[in-house]
Symmetry: C2
Subunit: 426 residues, 2 copies
């Protein structure tokens, strides 16, 4: 196979005819494959089944400090659940507040607090004419959906392999007090899989925001979700921001959704003192407390950091071949064409293919017509608008290896067709 | 014992001395008893322990329509969980949306939607200069805490044994478009235990609100929480309001907090079409879905309406003697004095003692100094202000019968002391 950029129009036309033949054969198979969402597979869910049998009658329903988990009370979460989540988030147990089963819900609730009640005595955002939000791109579609829901103006921040463009972030945050927040997925970022560099984390912690109520939403969703034995660490943003005089600038989020059960895990937030006091004031009004029995199940299952690491290695064994299968298909079929690029992630749930500009929508459409559902093109961008129409997100976790093999093969055919079409019409 | 109202000052002074002697003896015992919150007892929690063992391996983790409960998805809740909650709320399963473990949290979230996004295309309440809310009194302190949290002006609506004063409600709601909502606990009301009459329910359903976004928050917290064999029913407010042209005026709430586990139950809302569509639009942004495994546990435990009724009879067997013990103490010690009054509830979690005007705070303080914690006087009113300083709420569910006997005896001593003091200073 040759580099497409070096081909003549005739050669490209021949390649196109060849690819379209392959595409037809795939279409004829009538497959139905889904790589659109980062869902754990059944095998992954099975890893945590002992959790459901871990509680042994009423005698064991009390947590370490005596709280009866079956009854009301314990608003911040069980002491052992806070410890467990602090190990995942690499922070102090005292900084942690446990929520329900969804960290996204905690993010939504936190933005709602800024919106309706205000942070640190500042005017609630609902009373302001304009609220702006920094969105490193490509990013997580559900983050952007929240800030869009409240009508915030979202500003794209380009990312490279080290994280967001910090020159741009620093300039914007220090000069515009209508910028109230920033989304971050610092480790194994959704969707590119990159890890923020230490330098980037430090610069975020040391921001000098014009707005006193500027808040970093640090979604550490993949904190322990390594694919390989090296367990990448990032600096502790809560400690760093405190050192930099930004004690209350950061809300950190995590959950066990992709550690135990996506539908029945435990979510948590970590933050420094004043933020926590403010949050508890609202929580007291908002709820009678989250499900403590499920917290207890989880904390009994993960008794220390080693049990978490061992458990995540079992996930990695299931995930790694899926990631490698997709990456091998990209290497095999797309690398030689000289078109498009990607980073091989060392953790997380996604692979991003950066297609030639203007081809992503076409590739996703072609895949769809051949029975492979991908995340819609544009989804990793605010307002679903990818300015280059080039980013495609794969979620390889859920399908079986057999399904994934077909899906990856179909994908590379579609990617090549769209690229050839583009070059022919250039 | 004589009627206090017929006693001379001398007789009252002698009674006071006698009561103070009893009070001192109680104080000397150094008891610590808590009747302040409506918490289920340990024996009640034990009734539902089989729920934790009901799931039997991965084969059984799918719900009736095939949803894998351990994974993402199923935003509205499992089909069997919606059916279960519809039986508790006496409505259609299609009207139900399942939440986390706290119906209070669903109420908070619903008010947040009106506040930040608006209902039915109306201006979000956060953009209005004034929002008013109707609060039947005495009522549930946590309801009032929510509406206070958002700065709504709360208007007291007096209640009698049939429910809120509907003449007042109708007049206010039809004439003032800044009135956006009303709290209701229609069955075994917190704290009086009264049940809204059919007439009152019908008049609420047929309100003619000046505000298009006026909403009734129908907290059916004690829908199946009968103390006796007769199972009081109230008319179906969702059907009635639809018939009356108020299709989207009512949000109904319930949970299994006092059916299974206060700390790990299942909460739900029921509402008509447009409200549900609006809610789902927000939910899609707000969460990845609530804990479906816990929904499955509950739905497998309560397979039909009879299993729920039988289970609630077991609760009643534990609760009834506690209620009757307190009521007997009131009959024995307070009835003869001719002071104060109460209703004997047929369900729910509370007994209200209407003390002589101006004595409630004193009674609660006296109890506290003798080791009996009661709900603070004023708590069942907006802003914690009981205009008559007369309402005292008992929560007899949590203490043992032995503890409760002491607490009730101490209470009647304190109530009589405060009453005598009042009469002596009149």
């Amino acid at each position: 196979m040759n580099n497409y950029l070096e081909m003549t129009k005739e050669e490209l036309a021949a390649e196109k005819a060849n690819l379209e033949e392959q595409y037809k054969q795939w279409q004829a198979k009538g497959l139905k494959l889904d790589m659109s969402r980062g869902k754990p597979s059944s095998e992954q869910l099975d890893l945590s089944m002992p959790i459901f049998d871990i509680l042994d009658g009423e005698a064991s329903m009390r947590c370490l400090n005596g709280v009866e988990t079956r009854n009301y009370g314990g608003l911040e979460g069980l002491v052992e659940a806070r410890k467990m989540m602090s190990e995942i988030m690499d922070c102090d147990p005292e900084q942690v507040i446990i929520g329900g089963n969804s960290s996204l819900n905690m993010m939504f609730d936190t933005i709602i607090r800024g919106y309706s009640l205000g942070f640190a005595g500042c005017t609630p955002w609902c009373k302001l004419d304009k609220v702006k939000w920094l969105c490193p791109v490509p990013g997580y579609d559900r983050h952007f959906a929240i800030t869009q829901h409240f009508g915030f103006e979202m500003i794209n921040i380009p990312m490279d392999d080290n994280g967001p463009d910090m020159d741009m972030v620093e300039k914007l945050v220090s000069s515009d007090d209508s910028i109230k927040g920033m989304w971050c997925v610092p480790k194994y970022s959704n969707p590119t899989g990159i890890v923020y560099s230490d330098e980037v984390v430090k610069r975020i912690a040391a921001l000098k925001p014009a707005a006193k109520d500027f808040r970093v939403f640090w979604d550490n969703a993949y904190a322990v979700h390594h694919l390989y034995d090296e367990m990448t660490q990032i600096p502790n943003i809560l400690a760093l921001s405190e050192d930099a005089g930004n004690e209350n600038m950061v809300f950190e989020f995590a959950s066990t959704s992709k550690i135990t059960f996506a539908g029945a895990g435990v979510a948590a937030m970590a933050m420094n003192n004043k933020n926590r006091e403010e949050m508890k004031k609202t929580m007291t009004v908002q709820t009678i407390g989250y499900d403590k029995v499920n917290q207890l199940r989880h904390a009994r299952f993960f008794t220390n950091v080693t049990t978490i690491e061992d458990h995540m290695k079992k996930h990695a064994q299931l995930l790694r071949p899926r990631f490698e299968l997709v990456l091998e298909a990209l290497e095999r079929d797309l690398k030689p064409t000289g078109c498009g690029n990607w980073v091989a992630p060392r953790g997380g749930y996604f692979i991003t293919y950066n297609a030639p500009s203007g081809t992503a929508t076409r590739i996703v459409d072609l895949c769809g017509l051949a029975g492979v559902v991908l995340t819609p093109a544009g989804a990793p961008f605010p307002y679903h608008m990818d300015p280059e129409d080039s980013v495609i997100r794969f979620a390889p976790s859920f399908p079986s290896l057999e399904e994934l093999k077909d899906a990856a093969d179909i994908f590379t055919v579609c990617a090549r067709i769209a690229t050839v079409e583009k070059l022919l019409h250039a």
